[in-house]
């Protein structure tokens, strides 16, 4: 049976502000800096909501370490994510904050001090029907 040549499955970042390298160790988060007012953002931007300029924006490689600002332990499972898990806001040294999951620690509030130092890692979290893989970033205690 002749089949149309299927595109080779790809490895894709789950969010546009994750830049993938050759190996997972080389993945990093990207940000952008407003050339007009200096405000830092997560991911690429065309416009600056702080100073209302259209940049130009300088692309910035964000650090792979940060601190837990706030968190919630989520007990509501989704069909493909096991609960409980820790959802958190992590502050990065560049002055931006990212939404993330904290792994490598039991999801219990007593294990998650505010300001806890954490380090980023990436891993495959899903695969679509065409076989494409999706890579997400997460953080674990540093």
């Amino acid at each position: 049976m002749a089949e149309a040549a299927a595109a080779a499955p790809e490895i894709r970042p789950l969010v546009p502000y994750l830049t993938l390298g050759e190996t997972r160790e080389q993945d990093y988060l990207n940000g952008s800096k407003c050339g007009n007012c200096g405000t830092m953002y997560v991911g690429p931007r065309l416009f600056c909501p702080k100073c209302s300029s259209d940049g130009p924006f300088e692309s910035v490689r964000l650090s792979d370490h940060g601190e837990v600002y706030v968190y919630s332990v989520i007990h509501q499972a989704t069909p493909y994510v096991k609960a409980p898990y820790i959802a958190a806001i992590v502050d990065l040294p560049e002055g931006v904050a990212v939404n993330t999951n904290i792994e490598g620690v039991e999801p219990d509030p007593k294990n998650i001090p505010f300001g806890m130092k954490v380090k980023m890692f990436t891993e495959k979290v899903s695969e679509d029907r065409e076989g494409n893989s999706y890579i997400a970033y997460k953080f674990k205690p540093a």
Partner: protein, 398 residues
């Protein structure tokens, strides 16, 4: 700008109405509000309809139920502040002199569809893989921020649930009218720490309506017109983490400043507030945002009894609350908060909520709130916040 008065209000009991469609729910509320104002639909010059889930034409579909008089209809969607934004548009229409009599109606039918659902292709969904964007998570993290700043405990937030569930037992229009002592709130299953199930509002169906008119015409319809002393809408200003974690505080603080300046009052003048307690954590944050207490004092404020009906902790809950009472704390305001039972018990049919909060304040200012009546209430405020983000404040005066 002209003075504006409310001459009619109504809300249907919030709950589940699988045998009705949303326009029928809204028409019931609309006709009840007209009856309350002693007028017919022919007197209404424009309709402002708040509904979030209807794609468009929500207001026209309501008129197709309750009276197609051919008047202008404006359909409004503004997250959880949808109904209160419709109300404010109605207020502005009267204040500007464009019309003399208008109706604002808020409605929603959520059925079993909750706030927890995820959308889109599961393979590319961020939910649970790059943090959580569910409302319980957002408001859990907002509570976490207060815990980080002030050492607030989960129990402090839970006390807001105990209070609001207690108040709801006196509100026949509330979706749930069930008390929940502190241990019950704390021991119900965690949804998104620090919020447990009994610290999250239910979803449901509902509708509410209000008739607004110019102050000079109000006496034609009622001996108890309620003056709208301020009607404020803000959106979220830029803040450092605001694009990552919605900032529910700054826009509420901005709205409060405008509302107090416009109405010429301060928080100490408020007899009651209906505020947006979609989650128990939110209630405490808004005590501070609205100036009911100082920054970092919300936990002491709820435990002081100031925001409970009668400004005191009922005898049956004194033992629960005792460990959290700070005897050195003296409340500087006396506003009872969420005498209706709040969103936590009354329910939160998104588009209906904003108008229902206003109706609740009107019931009290008229002395019609039954067992939950805030004694001698003369000044009340209705607060609503919708994420991404909109905040409305309406100050109502007897």
């Amino acid at each position: 700008m002209r003075e504006v008065a409310i001459v009619g209000v109504s809300m249907i009991k919030f709950g589940r109405y699988p045998d009705r469609d949303v326009a029928q729910l809204a028409a019931r509320a609309g006709l009840d509000a007209l009856k309350d104002a002693g007028m017919q639909i022919n007197s209404v010059e424009a309709l402002y309809s708040g509904n979030l889930y209807a794609t468009s034409g929500s207001g026209q579909r309501i008129l197709q139920q309750m009276g197609q008089t051919g008047i202008p209809v404006v359909n409004v969607a503004n997250a959880c502040a949808t109904g209160s934004t419709a109300f404010r548009e109605a207020y502005l229409a009267i204040a500007s002199g464009a019309y003399d009599i208008v109706m604002a109606v808020g409605s929603e039918q959520m059925g079993k569809q909750g706030l927890l659902g995820s959308r889109g292709d599961p393979a590319t969904s961020l939910e649970g893989r790059v943090g959580s964007y569910m409302m319980p998570a957002v408001f859990g993290m907002a509570g976490s921020e207060h815990m980080r700043a002030y050492g607030t405990q989960q129990e402090h937030f839970a006390l807001a649930s105990v209070k609001n569930h207690f108040h709801s037992t006196m509100n026949p229009l509330a979706q749930y009218q069930k008390e929940s002592p502190l241990d019950e709130v704390m021991n119900s299953r965690v949804i998104a720490y620090p919020n447990t199930l009994l610290m999250c509002c239910p979803t449901g169906d509902g509708a509410a309506a209000a008739i607004l008119c110019s102050a000079e015409k109000a006496r034609q319809f009622t001996t108890q017109p309620i003056k709208v002393a301020a009607s404020v809408l803000t959106s979220d200003p830029f803040s450092d983490r605001g694009l990552t974690l919605p900032d529910i505080n700054t826009l509420t603080r901005n709205a409060a400043k405008i509302a107090y300046d416009t109405a010429g009052i301060g928080p100490e003048d408020l007899d009651q507030v209906e505020l947006h307690d979609c989650f128990a954590t939110a209630e405490l944050l808004h005590y501070e945002n609205l100036g009911l207490c100082g920054d970092g004092e919300a936990a002491k404020h709820v435990a002081s009894g100031a925001t409970w009906l009668g400004n005191k902790i009922p005898a049956k809950y004194q033992e629960d609350v005792a460990p959290f009472v700070d005897k050195t704390y003296a409340p500087k305001t006396h506003a009872v908060v969420n005498a209706s039972g709040g969103l936590l018990s009354k329910g939160h049919p998104l588009g209906a909520t904003g108008v229902a909060n206003i109706a609740e304040i009107v019931f009290h200012l008229r002395g019609q709130a039954g067992n939950r009546q805030v004694e001698g209430s003369k000044v009340g405020m209705a607060h609503v916040i919708g994420l991404c983000s909109a905040c409305t404040l309406n100050v109502l005066v007897k």
